[in-house]
């Protein structure tokens, strides 16, 4: 019997990495931003992170138990969702809001559509937008240390000047994980070094965004303005950690380029012409929705099939 060759369905080439390994590296790469957030915003940030991670893992467990599905909390994807959600919340968010967001992310966005690999939108961002729409006042209140702080982006919008160094280091107002560009870039380097992500999506995203802001930002090629836009708001966190989510980004190389351009354009449009100073969350979830279409138009030609022929058929 052992001599029989099994003909199985694809994939035939397997890598040693599992989802769990990848998720572990994402968690490790998120640590600098998370630790910085805890240091910067105090123990309340730690509490929020703990709550969202616990709620996400627990709701994944309970849903899968309840639906008699295999329990997949061990792969760590629910923990990553929870951590990302916490990093996208302002430190002033009450704990029950974190609970609500965690349940929404896992149950509505992820599990109802079939679990890991099937969600059509980044669960953490969808939950953030859900909370943002529901509790606009609370989610845009970036008070910390009893100082009512405007985020650098909001300050720039109001015409005030911002300090680039503190924006890069992260000692500004904002959500727990987005303020420190330095900590996020450190995590991004880990992801790139471990080949968990490639430079393509975030690189094209940031590049398109910078070009858009240079053209339409109203400050021309003012480097400090462009740098402030890059380091401000959720752009860094979004570009490196959420736009690169495997499930909700295209798998074709050409598609990833298109996706990155979409992200950059949408973020630019929202930041320049939108009502709010921020736009990364909406840009990413909107682009997530475009992914199936992007993949459809960028299917590579199969080996031996002429390109022209495919074009004709399509």
């Amino acid at each position: 019997m052992n001599d029989l060759r099994n003909v199985s369905s694809s994939p035939h080439v397997r890598a040693a990495e599992s989802s769990a390994d990848l998720m572990r590296w994402v968690l490790i790469a998120l640590l600098p931003a998370a630790l910085f957030g805890i240091w910067h915003f105090g123990p309340k940030a730690l509490l929020l992170i703990a709550v969202t991670v616990l709620v996400c893992v627990a709701s994944e467990y309970l849903y899968e138990k309840g639906m008699h599905k295999p329990v997949t909390i061990a792969d760590g994807s629910a923990a990553v969702t929870g951590l990302l959600l916490a990093l996208n919340l302002p430190v002033g968010a009450p704990w029950w809001m974190a609970v609500l967001g965690g349940i929404f992310a896992i149950v509505v966005v992820k599990q109802l559509f079939g679990g890991l690999g099937q969600n059509f939108m980044n669960p953490a961002l969808a939950a953030r937008c859900f909370l943002l729409i529901s509790f606009a006042g609370r989610l845009t209140d970036f008070t910390y240390d009893a100082v009512s702080g405007a985020t650098p982006l909001a300050a720039m919008r109001a015409g005030e000047s911002v300090d680039l160094t503190s924006m890069f280091l992260g000692t500004t107002a904002g959500t727990i994980g987005e303020t420190s560009a330095a900590a996020i870039l450190l995590g991004a380097v880990i992801l790139l070094a471990k080949k968990v992500i490639t430079l393509r999506i975030p690189g094209i995203y940031l590049l398109t965004f910078v070009i858009f802001m240079a053209l339409f930002g109203g400050h021309g090629l003012d480097l400090s303005y462009l740098a402030a836009q890059l380091f401000g708001g959720g752009l860094m966190l979004g570009a490196w950690f959420m736009a690169t989510d495997y499930v909700t980004s295209p798998i074709t190389p050409a598609g990833q380029v298109v996706y990155g351009v979409c992200l950059g354009l949408l973020t630019g449009v929202f930041r320049c012409f939108g009502a709010s100073a921020e736009g990364v969350s909406y840009a990413i979830i909107l682009s997530n929705l475009l992914v199936p279409l992007i993949e459809r138009i960028t299917i590579p030609a199969a080996f031996g099939v002429a390109k022209a022929k495919r074009g004709k058929k399509a």
């Binding site: 609500l100 509505v108 859900f130 729409i133 529901s134 509790f135 606009a136």
Partner: protein
């Protein structure tokens, strides 16, 4: 009498237009921001549906097949106009909150769907009760959706504060996405309930349907209606 009861049951439960036929989604999603709006829209539609079914059933042998849809629309539009004037005169607050959606009842696919699939082929009494049943089903659906959206999104039901003071309303529920969440949730719940009925052997579909077993024409009629309704209603 039996047909009448069967029609009412069919419209409210077995072929509930909101949760089973998935017709009339535009008013379902757009106006159910409060329980009052839901019940108002549902009852308004029910009145028009019953009257138009009655009228179309009476005219079913006169209306030529080729122009039946325009003829139906003329009938429905007349009733909608009458009802809107009545609302404007006697319940102006409801008229204001439903606004544009009242004239849009003309192209509501439930009304055209029932005219096409039922009233134009069946006797007057059965058609009237079909209209009332479907209208009640629609009212039940819209009211449920409205109650839940208002409860979660504002913390009140029919304008009365239900939730405790400390409750912070999840305002996404009174916006468009909330309508989809609640509709999906209620549809899932009613499917679950019907599944458990079937298990118990109380199969709802065993009650004789008045559909005259002509499912193909019914489906195609509904499809055509949905196409028309989809663009406008």
């Amino acid at each position: 009498m039996n047909t009448a009861l069967e029609r009412l049951w069919n419209g409210m439960v077995k072929e509930n237009p909101t949760f089973v036929l998935m017709l009339g989604m535009c008013p379902t999603l757009a106006v159910t921001t409060s329980a009052m709006n839901g019940i108002g829209m549902g009852l308004t539609t029910m009145v028009i549906l019953a009257l138009s079914n009655l009228m179309i059933s009476m005219l079913r042998k006169i209306i030529p097949d080729e122009v039946r849809v325009p003829a139906f629309i003329v009938v429905v539009a007349s009733f909608v106009t009458i009802v809107q004037f009545l609302l404007e005169a006697y319940i102006p607050s409801l008229n204001d909150s439903l606004g544009l959606y009242i004239p849009l009842i003309v192209v509501n696919c439930i009304i055209l769907g029932r005219a096409e699939a039922y009233a134009s082929k069946n006797p007057i009494g059965a058609s009237l009760f079909d209209g009332i049943g479907m209208g009640l089903g629609f009212t039940i659906g819209l009211t449920f959706i409205g109650v839940i959206r208002e409860l979660i999104g504002v913390g009140t039901v029919f304008g009365f504060q239900v939730m405790p003071e400390a409750y912070e309303p999840v305002s996404i529920f009174v916006m468009a996405p909330g309508a989809f969440f609640v509709l999906a949730l209620l549809t899932a719940v009613q499917n679950r309930v019907k599944m458990s009925w079937e298990k118990k052997g109380k199969d709802a579909s065993r009650i004789q349907s008045g559909c005259s077993a002509d499912c193909a024409s019914c489906a195609s009629g509904c499809k055509g209606m949905a196409g028309q309704g989809g663009t406008e209603a």
